[in-house]
């Protein structure tokens, strides 16, 4: 194909397998880390020795014509994005970069996606294949570099949100998108309740919506796509047009808005986008067109979990608070049993990030 592959970085997978074998022999669980940006977020704190995979990095293959990239898990997202930029392409899921520290593997393990997620899919949706090292220290490949692949179970997407408890992710192939020709943001003053209604109605229109969030009495909508479509939609929808230099979306993506600059426990709700959340307060932040909502403050998990369940979803103590206790909605007995069986299928000795997702996993 047209492009020379980029300088390859370093394939450190042999060393990772060796360390893992040693850990397994000594029955000494590991905590997998690369950039370290997510050590104290998304999951429970893990006190195992660290297995550092940050050396295992670099783009393995990038075929702009195929809209596919394959990179090692320790590759910083900024490096990927810079390579894509040269070909006017992008990661569809707009991941948080966390000051440049976020890596591809960590982003998949935490299933983190930014404001575009409801409109262009999550990292889980973009994954085409993974290479991973399971708890038996075997280097395995699932999925591939093609758009469609239904041979075998979808082990690749299963890694999304597994927080590294099923395997050390080694390489990931992703589906890409061309960059939109034009992007424009519109702002409206309204209450949270009206904003939820409005976001959902707008998302039901065939327009190039690519972001919808509400904070402090303002609803902001983002349009991206063909210039003609963006302009005509903006004209129809009205609202105040945000300055092109405004970096609210980047700050929302990276959780660097003033809203997040706070030591209080931070809760993430993933719910029916149209639902009213009984725990919503004026200081909630509503993103993902209503499907992701943030809440700050001290609350018992159980109370929030009930509120999330009535809104058709679940809650996670994303940051802060007691990270030795459970940090996410519990599962039914049947599901808990299946998840434990699944963990055993990948990691029979329980050496990979034990307790990171749930205390019992």
């Amino acid at each position: 194909m047209s492009e020379e592959p980029k300088p390859a970085g370093l394939d450190d997978s042999k060393a990772i397998v060796t360390s893992l074998m040693q850990a397994r022999e000594e029955a000494r669980p590991v905590y997998i880390t690369a950039g370290g940006s997510k050590r104290h977020i998304a999951g429970r704190d893990c006190d195992s020795d660290t297995l550092d995979v940050s050396l295992h990095r670099g783009i393995v293959d990038y075929q702009p014509q195929e809209l596919v990239i394959t990179a090692r898990a320790g590759t910083p997202l900024t490096e990927l994005i810079a390579a894509l930029q040269e070909h006017n392409q992008m990661l569809p899921f707009e991941p948080p970069l966390f000051g440049g520290k976020a890596t591809l593997g960590g982003t998949l393990a935490c299933n983190l996606s930014g404001p575009a997620r409801p409109f262009r899919g999550s990292i889980r949706d973009a994954v085409l294949g993974v290479q991973l090292i399971n708890g038996k220290c075997e280097l395995l490949n699932f999925g591939g570099k093609v758009m469609k692949n239904v041979a075998g179970y979808d082990v690749s997407r299963l890694q999304a949100g597994a927080l590294g408890t099923l395997g050390v992710i080694s390489e990931i192939s992703l589906k890409l998108l061309p960059q939109p020709e034009k992007t424009l943001s519109l702002r409206y003053e309204m209450t949270a309740g009206d904003a939820i209604e409005c976001m959902n109605r707008r998302a039901g229109e065939p327009k190039p919506l690519s972001g919808a969030f509400w904070l402090n009495g303002d609803l902001t909508l983002r349009l991206s796509g063909a210039a003609s479509a963006v302009e005509s939609t903006a004209a129809q929808w009205g609202g105040d047009i945000l300055d092109a230099a405004d970096n609210t979306w980047e700050n929302l993506r990276d959780m660097t808005l003033p809203y997040f600059a706070n030591d209080e426990p931070l809760w993430r709700f993933s719910v029916n986008p149209a639902a009213t959340l009984s725990t919503a307060t004026d200081s909630s932040l509503i993103d993902w067109g209503g499907a992701q909502r943030w809440l700050r403050g001290e609350y018992p998990l159980q109370e929030l979990q009930q509120a999330a369940a009535s809104a058709g979803g679940h809650v996670t103590l994303f940051r802060g608070g007691d990270r030795a206790a459970e940090v996410r909605s519990p599962l039914s007995g049947t599901e808990q049993h299946l998840q434990q069986q699944l963990k055993r299928a990948f990691d029979p000795d329980g050496i990979l990030n034990p307790g990171r997702l749930y205390s019992w996993l």
Binding site: Q63, D125, N141, K148, N149, R157, P178, S232
Partner: protein, 479 residues
């Protein structure tokens, strides 16, 4: 299984299901002997046709207690022998669970039972300006439960994703008949992503009894640009040019000469009979956007050497252009007693190379082949024409098919893009996966179905190791 056990099973199931819904006699079982890949058929011990989820649960419990294999079946349009009955098992047909339970226009979701046909969902929500994205060519008939089990795709998956991208939540019954809901009404769920695991799991991990699908707004406008090319290579290059040109078409399909002629005879869609290949490229969006993209695509096709160019003038014309494509399988089917549809996916850049190789194989085996496929996704559907009544033809067709799929793996692709492994491609799994990888897949199966009673002998090969498990070897060998 001795006759007494069959009687016992029948008696137990008839405690919960109407007698008519437990089919024991062979003549009435015939319609269930195979899916749309008719070269693989068998008769089950009995066919169960539950009418409610509670009845499905009872069937599972009884089978679990008696340690009887169970094969789920939707509409039977599958193309890998996935729903072929097990001779010692129950065939669980889910067609009577065909209710649309709820539509939520604001949140853009619908809850449906597994037997609802794919198209029925889009029809039911059209009044709200919505539709369900994945549109297999079999959408009039195939069930949404079958779509989930196969992770089915369709013409519009290039832009809107596969089944896995368009469902939010599933109600599942485990092999022991325990109920659970996975996924959520939000965009993710706590713990492992069982939605990813269940989608495409071919009825091997559990039975799907309800599906919450995500709905999309109907586009303002959609238009098709059809271009004829004098060579398959030129058409293949044009596919790459569109994709890298910064437009993601709603669909981008290719047909070669034999397929064009068959489809044209069948549908009179106005396809250029003299072309070596055609591309059908649909763009959708707002009026302005579609105008812009149609002219971009048309210019691109011209610059890539298109020998003819047609742009759909209105909705009727657009439907007509698609009718030829959507009826291509049956149309090609009229050219020979039987056809064998393959389903490999390859990197888009390999399309011309692989099509040329297929052409040479076609000469080698002296079997004609027509190509109709999802070019934008690199998902090939070579249709091998043969005569199933001639054992030599069957052997040749199977060998030809295997060679195509192995070639797909060699060029960086896979043995199945959307039709599944089923019984058909089981022996090809080792050409895509190492022994360790196959064992990992097998371990996943064990996690959900330790006695291996769900759809045995399909999807994932059960290797030697499993002979430790009781009663397996015989049950797992279909050959």
């Amino acid at each position: 299984m001795p006759e007494s056990s069959r009687n016992e099973l029948t008696r137990r199931l008839r405690q919960y299901l109407d007698a008519d819904n437990v089919i024991v006699d062979q003549e009435s079982q015939r319609p269930y002997e195979c899916d749309a890949l008719t070269i693989y058929c068998d008769l089950p011990l009995l066919v169960a046709l539950p009418e409610t989820t509670a009845q499905v649960q009872q069937v599972l419990r009884v089978c679990h207690q008696l340690n009887v294999p169970l094969v789920a079946r939707g509409a039977g349009t599958g193309l890998c022998g996935g729903a072929m009955p097990h001779p010692q098992g129950v065939l669980l047909a889910l067609t009577k669970l065909d209710r649309i339970v709820n539509i939520d226009p604001l949140a853009r979701t619908a809850r449906v039972q597994p037997g609802v046909s794919n198209l029925a969902i889009s029809e039911a929500v059209a009044a709200h300006g919505l539709y369900y994205g994945p549109d297999p060519s079999s959408q009039v008939a195939c069930s949404i439960g079958g779509n989930v089990a196969e992770n089915s795709g369709g013409v519009h998956c290039l832009k809107y994703g596969l089944t896995v991208h368009n469902i939010l939540s599933l109600d599942i019954l485990t092999v022991a008949g325990e109920a659970l809901t996975i996924g959520s009404q939000g965009l993710d769920s706590p713990g492992y992503d069982l939605m990813a695991l269940f989608t495409g799991s071919e009825g091997l991990l559990g039975i799907v009894t309800e599906i919450t699908v995500r709905l999309l707004p109907l586009p303002e406008v959609a238009q098709v640009v059809m271009a004829g090319f004098e060579s398959v290579d030129a058409a293949g290059d044009a596919v790459g040019a569109v994709i890298s040109g910064g437009i993601i078409p709603a669909g981008l399909e290719m047909m070669d000469r034999l397929a064009i002629q068959a489809a044209e005879d069948f549908a009179q869609a106005g396809y250029p009979r003299d072309a070596a290949a055609i591309l059908l490229c649909e763009v959708d969006g707002t009026r302005e956007e579609v105008d812009q993209h149609v002219s971009q695509v048309a210019n691109l096709f011209n610059s890539m050497g298109a020998s003819s160019l047609t742009i759909s003038q209105d909705e009727a014309h657009r439907s007509l252009l698609w009718k030829g494509r959507k009826s291509a399988f049956p149309a090609v089917g009229r050219l020979a007693p039987d056809y064998y549809c393959m389903d490999g996916t390859i990197p888009r850049g390999q399309v011309s190379f692989v099509l040329n190789e297929i052409h040479q194989m076609s000469e080698h085996y002296d079997l004609r082949v027509a190509n109709v496929f999802h070019a934008g996704d690199g998902n090939l559907h070579p249709l091998i024409l043969f005569d199933a009544s001639d054992p030599n033809d069957v052997r040749k067709a199977e060998e030809f098919g295997s060679r195509i799929l192995k070639l797909a793996v060699q060029v960086g692709g896979c043995i199945t893009g959307e039709h599944g492994v089923g019984v058909e491609k089981l022996r090809l799994m080792p050409s895509q996966f190492s022994a360790e990888e196959l064992l990992q897949l097998e371990d996943i199966k064990h996690a959900f179905d330790p006695a291996l009673n769900l759809n045995p002998g399909k999807g994932v090969p059960i290797l030697k190791r499993c002979q430790e498990y009781r009663a397996l070897p015989a049950r797992h060998q279909h050959e």
